[in-house]
Subunit: 122 residues, 2 copies
DNA sequence: GAACTATATTCCTAAGAAGGAATACAGATA
DNA sequence: TATCTGTATTCCTTCTTAGGAATATAGTTC
């Protein structure tokens, strides 16, 4: 994975928020919508952008698409994601996103391992 | 300095090469031209892009414009530049640039502290 | 002050990206 | 099969960017 390609993915505020959240584990699209407060198209398109470039991976689970960071990230990606998480700590927006994520985790059924189907997500 | 702005500066191959070289110390435009093998306009415009966004600082020295990394970078910038240098180590292009820089350093008069004027640069 | 050197800026064109509205699609449920 | 839910894609418009050619500018040297 080329370094420039990584930075191209990082140079949009929405994508940074998505990636920051993904640092905590896989999430479905409606979670992102809920936390960022952005329209579905926007979220979905940015996730597609990241997916095409290999910065996230997807897996379908019933109606939901679960996005996560790559299982085997390149060294460069790993380093840059770590750097991002680190920088995000000092920023109000990213911190607020993480706080919202925590709240959702309590309200929603855990999705990553379980999930099968049925339960409403958001 | 906003994180996104930093990444916007990093998402171009030429700018990455410039910043990687600047990790070694300040340089004038003709050095960049020589090392990257790119036309003057291109170099100059990318340096302007970086300057406007605060990723580099300039100082005139006679005919030459000496570009360097900010004397007081923000935390985020410092972290990301460190990450860049680190990643660049593993990449042939950036390594070749640094090698060329070393060669030039032998052939050129040192510019950073001395310099006054007179001597031809490149 | 004329010529020269190093660098910046302007003008233009082509390409890419972001955002929204509308629509398509896949799987689940009734 | 019809409908519903979650998500993706298409179409369109607007904005930003990169790159090159030509030109401008500031400082230097003769």
């Amino acid at each position: 994975m080329e370094l420039v390609k990584i930075y191209e993915c990082l140079c949009d505020a929405t994508r940074l928020r998505l990636l920051n959240l993904l640092g905590q584990g896989p999430l479905c699209v409606c979670h992102f919508q809920e936390i960022l407060g952005e329209p579905q198209v926007k979220i979905s398109k940015h996730l597609a952008y990241l997916r095409i470039r290999g910065l996230v991976e997807v897996e379908r689970q019933g109606n939901w698409m679960i996005y996560g960071l790559p299982a085997k990230p390149t060294r460069e990606l790993k380093k840059n994601l770590a750097c991002l998480q680190d920088c995000a700590k000092e920023n109000a927006i990213y911190r607020r996103d993480l706080a919202r994520l925590k709240k959702l985790d309590l309200a929603c059924a855990p999705l990553a391992p379980a999930g099968k189907s049925g339960a409403k997500c958001c």
